[in-house]
Symmetry: C2
Subunit: 200 residues, 2 copies
Amino acid sequence: MSSKGLLIVVSGPSGAGKGTICKELLNQNPQIKVSISATTRQPRNGEIKGINYFFIDKNKFELMIKNDDFLEYATVYDNYYGTPKEYVMKNLEDGNDVLLEIDIVGALQIKDRFKDAVFIFILPPSLEELKNRIVGRGTESLADIEKRHGSAISEIEQFIKYDYAVINEDVLKAVGDIEAIIRAEKCRVLRRTEEIQSKF
Amino acid sequence: MSSKGLLIVVSGPSGAGKGTICKELLNQNPQIKVSISATTRQPRNGEIKGINYFFIDKNKFELMIKNDDFLEYATVYDNYYGTPKEYVMKNLEDGNDVLLEIDIVGALQIKDRFKDAVFIFILPPSLEELKNRIVGRGTESLADIEKRHGSAISEIEQFIKYDYAVINEDVLKAVGDIEAIIRAEKCRVLRRTEEIQSKF
């Protein structure tokens, strides 16, 4: 009997560094599968189909919505974004852990339908540091920076709906926290009941 | 603000190897404090006061019961055994993690009064292996072995009341599981709410 895999949902406010953390987590744990989102927006320069996104057209996306083929989806600036269900479910059934790096709204949609998933919220070390990071990108106007910083603050309030909070003071430490969470979750009695009852 | 420590309660059936695992856990993590039980029984050869047990007389023990000075206590063969509350509470308040290796009845008493503790159940890899280990001690008669094996089987059913189940296939792996559980528990949103709300 192979135990089912773990669905690991990582999200957090813009600027918390969840992308960097997830990349390093996958580098160190290549056995973890990563879910790729689907979108109807056009590929940007350098984006590769099946690596960054699955690029599909609007009709296809709406048919998939109708068929309940998404774990979650949302509309952003007239484009759809969503997490195709099939890849995630197949891997979990095969006993693979699946990582989903996703925004807060999407994560909460998944929480409603997928009680077994583990929800991890990434936080910046402080509000000052969050602002420094947003400024540091150097790609945004002052107004955009203020807007992004303001929305990050209101996003942070959502941490309370998650199972775990990881503070990104140091990328490797944050990755270590997530690895510990995954290992600990596999020991949870609620996940091992069947295995133990079949053994003893 | 220093966060409060974690009370880690480790128990499991006789022969699962919880003593060996706890010893190795403490070797590798000398910052973890270990709670010492009090008993009214006489010290055995080689037992040291304050290391193996606190040896106290019956009057003192009963006064402590009356004063609600135990986290849990029990009577075994006319002797009292109990976990003094003061040492545990003081260390938790100081932010130290405290390990309690304790039998299943005692662990469940603590669970009733101490919702914040983490309850870890140690299991043998199989019933056959459990029997081998009990036989391997070589100190017991066949009848005693059968009795101990039988009671271990009924003790195993209690795993369902714990938070985590660690299977002792390998001592170092089991210690690694417990270390991951401790690290993950410190990231639980329920334990970090105050810290995060004071920061953001």
